[in-house]
């Protein structure tokens, strides 16, 4: 992947916003990949979790927006408890989702879920999915 790095992007509002919402220090990550190695959803992701952190700190908002990865994170916190640098990646994923959701864009559309599926799902599945993936 060819990427363009510029001072403007590195100091963009996007990078600042992710740090502000997540409370995480992005430069702490040294790209060891432990988060990706342990992620139970990585098999379904087009970008690995450690690649997401790297793209965020380079300010490459559009590349993250094109990827499904942040929407597949189940907030299981495996990455958070294993990170040797103390970076809580689950909070970075949450910040990235919120930047989209706060524009009133939903990832899961409750009205499109069939009534029989809603009837069989446990309440904790529905509430957490709507909490995590709708505006």
């Amino acid at each position: 992947m060819r990427i363009e790095i510029s001072a403007k992007r590195l100091q963009s509002d996007f990078v600042k916003k992710v740090e502000e919402i997540s409370g995480q220090t992005l430069p702490s990550c040294y790209q060891c990949g432990k988060c990706s190695a342990g992620c139970p959803m990585s098999f379904a992701m087009d970008l690995l979790p450690n690649q997401i952190i790297h793209l965020v700190r380079l300010g490459l908002e559009e590349d993250i927006a094109k990827s499904k990865t942040i929407w597949l994170c189940a907030s299981c916190l495996t990455c958070s408890v294993r990170c040797p640098r103390g970076v809580d990646l689950s909070r970075i994923m949450e910040a990235l989702r919120l930047i989209t959701l706060r524009k009133n864009i939903d990832y899961v559309e409750p009205s499109r879920i069939a009534a029989e599926i809603i009837a069989e799902l446990p309440q904790i599945a529905l509430v957490s999915s709507f909490r995590k993936l709708t505006a």
Binding site: A44, E94, Q123, I124, V127, S128
Partner: protein, 292 residues
């Protein structure tokens, strides 16, 4: 002894088998679970954003109800409720600035500073009744039953709310051993089942379930033991579909640890509500002579 009890939504709807077997078991062990007279949904997931305080109100209001009842702690059965209540409580206890903001926003409530302790049933069994205390009360030992404890995420992560060692928990293993079961260790015991992704990405959760269940089968388990209603659903409800996709797969019952506890305490199969389990565990339990 009375203990304040917060059930949460799922235990009143999909997981009556968890609630009924837990309440009956605890009564038999001398602890009376007293449901809060007023409670609301905890929100199920703890907000991971620094600037989002409003989502902490739902869990905190429940803790304020506990305090109003004059109780110093509250027991949860659902892993999601445990995690959300416990984390919200830690936040308000440890972050003075956020505590002030939240308390001034909830004008109608008395100020709350995190005084209530949130505990999970497994902790009470280990720390107060003790494994010996449990095994003394066993009248139907689960002899010959090969079970694999599966912990999932929210009882163990993050570290500050973990009820046991994060990477190598043994709490359910110890419980099941004290009930006389043969415990199978397997490498996916703390792997996420896919959680709420079942709503938007069910096909990926099916793969997560396959990874976990096929590993437990390979290590010799006859049933998986869980504490969380969402793990129960994700691992249990779609096993037919997994069988269709992977011909080598064998269906395997998923049981709540409280069901096995109730059974071994001699409380009978009725209180366990095995009819609500997604894969019927009765043929297996009958084959071991544990139920008739």
């Amino acid at each position: 002894m009375d203990l304040s009890y917060y059930p949460g939504c799922t235990l009143k709807t999909k997981s009556k088998n968890l609630e009924d077997s837990a309440i009956a078991s605890m009564t038999a062990l001398g602890i009376n679970l007293v449901e809060l007279p007023r409670w609301n949904c905890c929100g199920t997931v703890y907000s991971l954003a620094d600037d989002d305080l409003v989502h902490h109100l739902a869990p905190l209001r429940n803790l304020i109800r506990v305090k109003e009842e004059g109780n110093g702690r509250v027991l949860t059965l659902c892993s999601f409720c445990y995690n959300t209540l416990k984390r919200a409580n830690l936040l308000i206890k440890n972050d003075q600035e956020k505590r002030n903001t939240i308390n001034s926003f909830m004008e109608e409530e008395a100020d709350y500073e995190g005084e209530v302790e949130v505990v999970h049933l497994l902790q009470i069994l280990r720390d107060e009744i003790g494994w010996e205390g449990v095994s003394e009360k066993v009248v139907v030992p689960l002899q010959g039953l090969k079970v694999a404890p599966y912990y999932g995420c929210t009882l163990l992560r993050p570290q500050e709310v973990a009820i046991d060692q994060v990477e190598r928990p043994t709490i359910m293993q110890q419980l099941l051993q004290s009930l006389g079961a043969e415990v199978v260790d397997f490498p996916f015991a703390t792997e996420c089942c896919g959680s709420f992704q079942i709503v938007g990405n069910p096909e990926f959760v099916l793969d997560c379930a396959w990874n976990i269940l096929s590993s437990a089968l390979r290590w010799g388990a006859e049933a998986l033991v869980v504490s969380c209603p969402l793990c129960d659903f994700n691992l249990g409800q779609r096993q037919r579909e997994i069988s269709n996709r992977y011909s080598e797969f064998r269906e395997m019952p998923i049981l709540y640890f409280t069901q096995l506890l109730a059974l071994s305490l001699g409380l009978g199969a009725e209180v366990c509500r095995f009819d609500l389990n997604y894969v019927d565990p009765r043929p297996l339990l009958e084959s071991k002579g544990l139920i008739r």
